[in-house]
C-alpha cells in the first residue's frame, strides 16, 4: 500500500484510539450537537470496554461462520456432497431474505436476552457471504489444474489443501471480510436486546434525543469497519504473496 493511501488510515486509527482511550478530551467537538446541557460524551460505560465487547462478539461470530461456511462449501463441491449443491445454493439465495433484525428478534425470546441472540444472529447472517464465495471460488478452479494434480498422484485431501483452497483463497477471504464488515454494523442492533456493544451508545442517543451519542457511536463503528476491512485486505496480500499466490 502506498504512503498516500496509508496516511489517512493511520490518522483515522490514531483518532479512533485517542477517542476510545480519552473520550472526554473530545467533548468540545460533540458539545454543539447537544442541547439543554445534555452530556456530549457517553459515560454510562467505558467506550473502550464497549468497543472491545463489540469486536469480541464480531470475532467470535465471524470465526464460527467462517469455519462452518467454508466446511460446507468444501463439502458440497466434493463428489460425495454434490447431491446437496442445488439445495445449498437455493438456501444461500433465500437466506438473504431474512433480515438480521428478524433473526435477532426471534432468537431473543428463545435463548434469553444479551450476547447469546446477537451471537446467533451474527453467526447465521455471516454464513451466507462466506459460503457463497467459497462455492464460487472452488468452482472457478480450472478442471485442468485439478486433473494435472491428480496426474501428479495427489489424493483428494492433498488436492484440496494444496491446490484448490489456495487458488480459491482470495475469493473466500473476500467473503470473510464482507461478513466481518456486515457483522460490525449488525452487532449494533444487538443492543436492542441488551447485548453489550457500541450500539448501546447509539440507542442511548436515540432514547434521550442526543445526537452527540448517536454520532460518536456511529462514527466509532463505521471507522472500525473501514479500518478492519482494509487491515484484512493488507494482511491477506502479505500472506498470499509469501505463499507465492498471485492474484
Amino acid at each position: 500500500m502506498s504512503t498516500m493511501a496509508l496516511a489517512p488510515r493511520v490518522v483515522a486509527l490514531v483518532l479512533l484510539l485517542a477517542f476510545l482511550l480519552a473520550p472526554q478530551f473530545f467533548a468540545p467537538v460533540f458539545a454543539p450537537l447537544t442541547h439543554n446541557g445534555a452530556p456530549p460524551i457517553y459515560t454510562q460505560a467505558s467506550l473502550l470496554d464497549l468497543a472491545i465487547a463489540h469486536l469480541e462478539l464480531v470475532a467470535l461470530a465471524t470465526v464460527g461462520s467462517a469455519v462452518v461456511a467454508i466446511a460446507l462449501g468444501v463439502l458440497v463441491t466434493r463428489r460425495a456432497g454434490a447431491e446437496f449443491l442445488p439445495l445449498s445454493r437455493a438456501i444461500v439465495n433465500i437466506g438473504q431474505t431474512f433480515p438480521p433484525v428478524a433473526v435477532l428478534a426471534v432468537a431473543a425470546p428463545l435463548v434469553g436476552f444479551g450476547q447469546a441472540p446477537t451471537l446467533i444472529a451474527l453467526f447465521v447472517y455471516g454464513l451466507l457471504p462466506i459460503f457463497e464465495n467459497t462455492l464460487s471460488g472452488l468452482q472457478q478452479v480450472s478442471a485442468a489444474v485439478v486433473e494435472s494434480a491428480k496426474g501428479a498422484g495427489m489424493g483428494g485431501l492433498q488436492r484440496l489443501v494444496k491446490i484448490e483452497l489456495p487458488l480459491a483463497a482470495p475469493q473466500i477471504l473476500e467473503g470473510v471480510r464482507l461478513s466481518t464488515v456486515i457483522a460490525i454494523g449488525t452487532a449494533t442492533i444487538g443492543s436492542t436486546v441488551a447485548a453489550k456493544g457500541l450500539g448501546e451508545v447509539i440507542i442511548a442517543g436515540l432514547l434521550s434525543d442526543n445526537t452527540a451519542f448517536i454520532l460518536q457511536g456511529g462514527l466509532v463503528v463505521g471507522v472500525m469497519a473501514v479500518l478492519i476491512y482494509d487491515a484484512m485486505t493488507a494482511l491477506e496480500r502479505i500472506v498470499l504473496r509469501r505463499r507465492g499466490v498471485r492474484r
Partner: protein
C-alpha cells in the same frame, strides 16, 4: 474425514447395500423431521399470554386416530424423499406434506383450545417448525432441480401466495397465538404493512432515480467514478441505526426552519429520516451496478449503432440501457430485499413499518408478536427476490 475418501469414488456406488440406494438429502431431511417430531412438542399450549408453555405431542393434539392418519401421510412423503429422485414427484410430495401439516396445526390448535376461551395461546412447537423446515427444504431442492422458466416461477409464486392467503382467510389458523396477536391489531397491522412497503419501495424508487444517472456518469468518467463510489461505500459501513439517528437532527432542523419542508411532513422523527437513510443505503448497489452494466456493453455494439446514424441519446436509450438492464436490475434486486429488511429498523425512530411489532414483541418477550412483524417482512423480501430474479433471468435469456 470420510468426505475426502468418498470424493475419490464415483457417486452412488460407495456401497451396494440398501442404505446406499437411498437419497442422501432425503435421509437427512427425514432424520431431521422424525427426530424433531419424536423429541420436541408439536404444539405448545399456554393458559394465557404470559403463562409457562406446556408441550403437546401429536397424539395429545390430534387424538390417536387422526395423528396416525397424519403420520401415514408423512410416511408417504418420507418414502418419496428417500426413494424417488424425480423432482416433480418430490415437489408434489413436499406440497402434500405442507398441506397436511397446515391442517394438523390449524385443527390441532382449535381442538386444544377450550371452547370460548379467549386467553389460551397455542403456538407451533419445535417439532412442527422442524417438520416445516424439512418440507420446505425438500420443496426448495425439487424446485432448484426442476429449473423452471422465469414465467413458470412467477406463476408458481402467485399460486403459492394465493393458497397461503386463502388458508389464512379461511380462519384455519385463527386459534394460533400469532393470529390472536393479529386479531387484536388488525387495523394497525394493515397500516404498518403499507408503511413498510412504502418505506422500502419508496426508498428503492428514489435510489433508482438518483443512483442510475449517477452510475451512468461513473461509467462515462473514471474520475467521477473514483470520487462517487468510495463515498457511497463508506455510507454502507455506517450502522443502520446510527444513520437513521443521524438524519433525525438535520431533518428536524429543516422541518423547524423551512415552512415548505414542514408542509411536506419532514420532521426529525418519523418516516422522513427513515426514507432518506434507506435511500442512502440503496444508492451504492444501484450506482455501482449501473456503471458495471453500462461498462460491459460491447464497444462494437455502440460503434455499429453510431454507424447506423443513431444519435448519442438514441444509442443510450436503444442499445446501452437495454443491454445493461439485467445487471442494473440485479442491483435493484439486492437493494429491494435489503431495504425490506432494513425498514424494520425505522420503527426505532418512529418511522412505523412492521418493525413496530418486532420491537414491541422484543420489549414484551412475546415471540408471537415478534413473528407477527418478522414473518410478513421475510415473506415480502422473499416475494421481491423471486420476482426480480425471474425478471433478471427473463431479460438475460431474451435475444439481445
Amino acid at each position: 474425514m470420510a468426505t475426502h475418501q468418498a470424493a475419490a469414488a464415483p457417486p452412488r456406488q460407495v456401497g451396494t447395500g440398501a442404505l446406499a440406494r437411498l437419497d442422501r438429502l432425503g435421509l437427512l431431511l427425514v432424520a431431521l423431521a422424525a427426530g424433531g417430531l419424536a423429541s420436541l412438542p408439536f404444539l405448545t399450549f399456554k393458559a394465557n399470554r404470559i403463562a409457562a408453555g406446556a408441550g403437546k405431542t401429536l397424539a395429545d393434539t390430534l387424538g390417536t386416530a387422526v395423528a396416525a392418519a397424519f403420520l401415514a401421510v408423512l410416511a408417504l412423503v418420507a418414502a418419496v424423499a428417500l426413494l424417488d429422485r424425480r423432482p416433480r414427484v418430490r415437489l408434489a410430495a413436499a406440497l402434500l406434506g405442507v398441506g397436511a401439516m397446515a391442517l394438523a396445526v390449524g385443527f390441532g390448535a382449535g381442538w386444544l383450545t377450550p371452547p370460548g376461551d379467549r386467553f389460551a395461546r397455542v403456538a407451533p412447537g419445535g417439532g412442527a417448525w422442524l417438520l416445516l423446515l424439512a418440507l420446505a427444504l425438500l420443496a426448495t431442492d425439487a424446485l432448484a432441480r426442476l429449473g423452471l422458466s422465469p414465467l413458470l416461477r412467477m406463476a408458481a409464486l402467485a399460486g403459492a401466495a394465493a393458497v397461503t392467503v386463502l388458508a389464512f382467510r379461511s380462519g384455519l389458523f385463527d386459534q394460533l397465538s400469532v393470529m390472536r396477536e393479529y386479531a387484536s391489531r388488525a387495523d394497525v397491522f394493515g397500516r404498518e404493512a403499507r408503511q413498510h412497503l412504502l418505506l422500502a419501495g419508496g426508498s428503492v424508487a428514489a435510489a433508482i432515480l438518483i443512483g442510475a444517472p449517477l452510475g451512468a456518469l461513473c461509467a462515462l468518467s473514471p474520475r467521477i467514478r473514483g470520487a462517487v463510489l468510495p463515498v457511497l461505500n463508506v455510507v454502507q459501513t455506517i450502522p443502520s441505526i446510527a444513520l437513521f439517528g443521524l438524519l433525525m437532527g438535520p431533518l428536524a432542523w429543516l422541518g423547524r426552519t423551512q415552512p415548505w419542508a414542514a408542509e411536506l411532513g419532514i420532521r426529525g422523527i418519523g418516516a422522513a429520516p427513515a426514507l432518506l437513510a434507506l435511500t442512502l443505503y440503496a444508492l451504492l448497489p444501484v450506482a455501482a451496478n449501473t456503471a458495471l452494466g453500462l461498462g460491459r456493453v460491447p464497444a462494437t455494439a455502440v460503434d455499429a449503432a453510431a454507424g447506423m446514424g443513431m444519435t448519442r441519446r438514441q444509442i443510450l436509450a436503444r442499445i446501452e440501457i437495454p443491454l445493461a438492464l439485467p445487471v442494473i436490475l440485479a442491483g435493484v434486486r439486492v437493494v429491494l430485499v435489503q431495504n425490506i429488511g432494513l425498514a424494520t429498523i425505522a420503527a426505532l425512530i418512529g418511522g412505523g413499518g412492521l418493525g413496530t411489532f418486532v420491537f414491541q414483541g422484543v420489549g414484551q418477550t412475546a415471540i408471537d408478536l415478534v413473528l407477527l412483524g418478522a414473518a410478513p417482512t421475510v415473506a415480502m423480501a422473499f416475494v421481491a427476490a423471486v420476482l426480480l430474479d425471474a425478471v433478471v433471468d427473463a431479460l438475460g435469456r431474451r435475444p439481445a
